[in-house]
Amino acid sequence: MTEQVGQRVPTARAGSEPMVRANVAAFARVWASTVMGSSYVPMTRAEVRQHLEALTEVLVDTLRATPFRTEPGYEIGTRLVEAHFTGTDTLGRTVQLLGDDLLSILGLPEDEVTRSRLAALQGAVSAGYARALRERTLAEQEAIRAAVLDARDGAEARLRASEARFRAMFTEAAIGIGMADLGGRILDVNQAFQEILGFTAEEMKSRNVRELMHPEDAASVWRLYEQLVRGECDHYRSEKRFYTRSGEQVWTNLTLSLVRDEHGEPQYQVAMVEDVTDRHLLQNRLRYQALHDPLTELPNRALFLERLNRAFSSKEKHTRLGLCYLDLDGFKMINDSLGHETGDLLLVEVGRRLKESVDGNGRMVARMGGDEFVILVEDTTGTEDVITVADRVLAEFRQPVRIGGHELSVSASIGIVERAVVGTTAADLMRDADITLYWAKADGKSRWALYDPERNAREVARFTLSATMPAALERDEFYVDYQPLVGLHDGTVLGVEALVRWQHPEFGRLAPDRFIELAEETGLIVALGRWVLRTACQQARRWLDEFGKHAPFVSVNLAVRQSRDPDLVSDVRRILDEVGLSPHHLQLELTESAIMGTADEPLEALRALSDMGVRIAIDDFGTGYSNLAYLRHLPVHELKVAGSFMEGLRAEEGADPVDEQIVSTLVSLAHALGLTVTAEGVETPAQAERLRTIGCDAGQGWFFARPGPPDAVERLLRDQL
């Protein structure tokens, strides 16, 4: 466009005539309103007028110039385009306006010369405009094409850089990367993938993904694969094994991803493979260590429980299984006397024998800890299958074990449980086997015991009782019945034996034989005994108030453990004081063994009680091994002859002379020692009569009265008043 600059015509002359200048402005105004809106020009309306005014001046000057030249016309056309009057209507309107109105508005002569000059000028304006617009259009087209190329170059350069980055990433990645089409044809694999499998990229490319199947692949791996190539899932991760070129196994973590095109259609699959063989082997080793006993190399408790739970999870209806829970007899002694090293060697040998004799074929031997072993017998048909195993184990142990010069006799106790898996649990099975092992021990060791649900129920009940007893005592579930001790020569009630009962909320009314032994085991007997003593003394006190000198003494049983309780004397004294009962209204009954077979302290306590005025009776006399010579040195006031001797005295005629002789002798002996005698278990009039004849002082039993509540005793007392 520079060529046009030189053609510009000075515009000063037209403006020098005021008259013409006014006309120029008028024409420019008309021109502006004619072309306004025909093009976008980045000027205000006033600026447009100004611009056109300048062009009008050129027009005027050109028309009047001598010689006449058309170049300024080109200039005007060019300047219209430069001002961005590029709309196609602009030129047409301009040319028309020049022809129609220029001469008249400017007051120029409309002669032929001027008209022909104007026509030439219109042509020049059109030609200049057309040339400038063409130039401009071509320049802009050129510019926009250049911009497209620039933009494409930029995009392509970025694409190339991006591709190079991805290529480098693919090639250099430490993780194996491979691509395949949806049919499984391998398209490319990177260096890491080649190294993992030992195949070259070319070798890999001739293969199909499906050829990489490994027999141990989880079914889910290939199911997910099919879903992925069908486009139903976009990626998955799994553990997968491959065979390498040399036939070895590699463990990998595999991530397979689906690549879709821009329309979402599946295109490729991309595998990322990480070699985790080392980690896998380490895990295997750690798992082995975690699941095996390092000493015997047998499966440990964890592995055993895993296997047992697996057996339970395969819940086929009729599946049965069995357990032998085994414990060496006297192992602690071997350990203590010969040392732990010998003990450990013994355990190794025991483990070896168990493994050799029973392991395999659906049987698993595990060490549970210490000297406890367990044998799982799967798919049993009945108890016999497990007993056979237990017998084999016991037989195996008959051969002594030789360790470091010692010949050790080994025996084991075995608890056996065998049952259907349905309806039980692994935990139940283990617990029952453990209990049964305990029975085998308790029954004499070196034997097996078979789980017995009834025995277990009894023990459970015993356990339940002993566990609930303390709370029962607090909740007042115990109460005391009384059974009269009746004078044989006049039939009066001399005393009453206090007999504790337990009104159990679940098991109902329980006699002492159901719980006293348990109470002795747990030690609760001391508290329970104290409660009975207090209750009986309070009762005795009430009778004393009511019946005065006819009131009976109360006879309270004292368990062995109570008799050894250091607080016994003070307890008795405090209770008597609190209740306000004189000691001679209280009798304490002890068994022979409680009195005889003991050290000095209990005797001291009994003496103290005796000195206090409390009567002491020997209960169930004749059933133990009483040292008769010793009897005279004891602080005892009465013998209660055991009911078992009364059997022979039962019949009206032809009593057993031996029983009668024994009782008679006992009575004589007691009287010789200054003791009174009460016969227990008197059930018939004949017995009562014979005892009276023998000279027995008192009797107790159903013949006189059954144990009952205090008011039953009171009725008797009132009757005899």
Partner: protein, 270 residues
């Protein structure tokens, strides 16, 4: 499928571009047959569109001159398109030679063209970015180098936001710029739209062609338009039809201007 932002952009000449269609309407030749074809299809149903767009472009000139008068020397022209006649920097430089302008467009061709014609002018930069992501614009090297965001900036959204559907939250986009600019900054928006009941059948047809051939378009009425200025005080005369915003001459206020299908406003951040 979503293209990651770091992926190279594509230059697709098989589809019309908003920027080149606009250029054609303004009498430029920075366009291709596909653009002219789309433009002519619109003109066929809405013959007054070129005039509408010219008047929109004329508003830009008035607004920039006004802003320079208000002392603004920094301009951020979002969706600037092809730098054709009547550009922001030309107008601004004529009034204040040291004004700095950053043009932003997502069209790679428009950006390449802008860079080529503006090369060597260190007062002007062209950024290729998505104007709908204020952070990517404001944190770009072009903006941080050329503009001082501690000083007032005029943000121009000329005939851009009617290409942003409600689902892309135009109010939120504007707010994203507003919250990063200091007090005294300006927001300039023009937007296609009209009041309920005014819609001419040809406007709907024009929009349909834009929707299918160029890019989807959303007309908004004056109230929705004004909501874009949340957090700004509108300068006189407020939100008005584009030709009625501070017209240069009473002659520019004709019947077409009074029923013009688009709004303009300038707001100042207090």
């Amino acid at each position: 499928m979503e293209r990651p932002t770091w992926a190279p952009g594509e230059v697709d000449l098989s589809r019309p571009s908003i920027a080149r269609v606009y250029d054609y309407f303004l009498g430029g030749a920075h366009n291709f047959a596909v653009d002219r074809d789309a433009a002519e299809r619109v003109v066929a149903v809405m013959p007054q569109l070129p005039d509408v767009l010219r008047r929109n472009r004329a508003f830009l000139g008035r607004a920039v001159r006004y802003l320079v008068d208000q002392g603004v020397r920094q301009f951020l022209d979002l969706g600037s398109g092809i730098p054709t006649a009547g550009n922001v920097h030309e107008i601004a430089h004529r009034a204040a030679a040291r004004s700095r302008v950053v043009y932003v467009d997502s069209d790679p061709v428009a950006v390449a063209h802008g860079r080529s014609i503006l090369a060597g002018d260190d007062r002007v930069a062209v950024l290729r970015a998505d104007a709908a992501d204020p952070a990517s614009v404001l944190d770009s090297a072009e903006v941080t180098t050329l503009l001082d965001l501690e000083q007032p900036v005029a943000v121009l959204l000329i005939a851009v936001l009617h290409f942003v559907p409600d689902t892309d939250d135009p109010v939120g986009i504007v707010a994203g710029y507003r919250d990063r600019l200091p007090s005294g900054s300006f927001l300039v928006i023009t937007h296609a739209g009209f009041e309920a009941g005014e819609e001419q059948p040809e406007w709907a047809r024009a929009r349909d062609i834009y929707d299918s051939a160029v890019t989807p378009m959303t007309y908004r009425d004056r109230a929705r338009f004004a909501r874009l200025f949340t957090g700004f005080d509108l300068v006189e005369p407020g939100a008005v039809r584009i030709p009625l915003w501070r017209p240069d001459s009473p002659d520019d206020v004709d019947d077409i201007a009074r029923h013009y299908p688009g709004y303009a406003a300038v707001g100042r951040k207090p």
